[in-house]
Symmetry: C2
Subunit: 210 residues, 2 copies
DNA sequence: GAACCAGGAGAACGCTCGTTCTCCGTACGT
DNA sequence: ACGTACGGAGAACGAGCGTTCTCCTGGTTC
């Protein structure tokens, strides 16, 4: 068996194309709104092949969420990893959000959307969404601790609220510049949490009007 | 025609029961997951009557969102209205959230959920969700201005992010005590926004570890 | 009491969609 | 070159669901 053929596509290639198509469609239109036929059309594979790759729509949804989780976490880690200074690493989270919100096909958080859509009906979806957010919460906890917050747990939760809120507001268009607003709020909270705490860094960034 | 009969229920009574049942079911299980038959069963009316009250599922969904919007706004206004001191009125918003999150059937924000589920497919649902959030954003803007924020618009957006984030985190169970965490963050932001602003109230509430 | 009408119960219809099956062409092995 | 087995296209199947229709019961009116 050759590794790749022309005309008839390879198995791995098919899996990749199916997952790509599913991700784009599920994300932009919602999971229940897109049928397997549309995914087949977008992926350019036959229905038989599609079901060889993923035995059911549920399995495909699970793969979609897993893939999204990995890509999103990697992108965030990449953004944060480019910065060394602890306080700026927190800021990098919101810079990442700003960039993400500017994406053409941005439509909120796949996991919040999937949870709202299927959470009560599908335990796997609910679990995937919670797992995704748990990882994010832990990352924020690390950042808060590194930045010298007096109470990293509290700050981590507050940063999480800002991130979630910014994503939702960006998706619905209810706040102007949600990433920047969330970022400045995060900076203020970080200032307050480190000003009198034990890990005071003396690098006092003031906000514009503060 | 008598106002109320036994056995065969009145028209208004039917509308009320249908809307109540729809609200409970749509909210707890999601809109697409609930069929008209289930609403009929829960409301205890005939299918014919159901379609007399609401000519389609779409119309019922719209009525559901309208009703939820009014009830939620009224409850929030009630909570905030009991408090006079401007800074405490902001805090009352998060006290309201705390109470709401403690509700037995709490499952997040109907509008965020509906938007995630049907936003890309149903313009009316998207519009209703945006309208709901716009009202909330305006209320927060008023509260921020009353509290003497130097930049009420920025603070209003940040409070909105905290509220949205708290709701999402509460629904998914990703933060511990989201309402309280959001409330303390709001207090800190309010402090920072009024400390050097023109409308300084001198009522300086300090956070526990601040 | 008889005609009539409103309302209830649920069958029926048509459509969508997830999943499977059938048919056919085509590339590969001997 | 010929049989074979795999893959593609799409029909087919069955379930779910929004919506409508039918039938029947029971009350109201002359």
């Amino acid at each position: 068996m050759d590794a790749t053929r022309r005309g008839r596509i390879d198995g791995d290639e098919a899996r990749r194309r199916v997952l790509d198509a599913a991700e784009r469609l599920f994300y932009t239109r919602g999971i229940q709104a897109v049928g397997m036929d549309q995914i087949r059309d977008a992926a350019g594979v036959s229905l038989k092949r599609l079901y060889q790759c993923y035995p059911s729509k549920d399995a495909l949804v699970e793969a979609y969420l897993e893939h999204r989780d990995r890509r999103w976490n990697d992108a965030l880690a990449d953004h944060v990893g480019r910065v060394a200074e602890p306080r700026e690493r927190v800021a990098a989270v919101f810079a990442f959000l700003a960039e993400w919100f500017g994406t053409a096909d941005f439509r909120g958080c796949s996991f919040i959307n999937a949870f709202g859509e299927l959470g009560p009906v599908s335990p796997p979806v609910a679990a995937a969404a919670r797992a995704h957010k748990r990882v994010l919460r832990e990352r924020l906890g690390t950042l808060a601790a590194e930045a010298g917050a007096a109470d990293p747990d509290t700050l981590a939760d507050q940063l999480l609220l800002l991130v979630e809120g910014a994503i939702v507001a960006a998706a619905m268009g209810t706040a102007t510049g949600p990433a920047e607003r969330a970022g400045s709020a995060a900076r203020a909270l970080l200032d307050a949490a480190t000003a009198s705490g034990p890990g005071h860094t003396l690098t006092s960034h003031r906000r514009r009007r503060g």
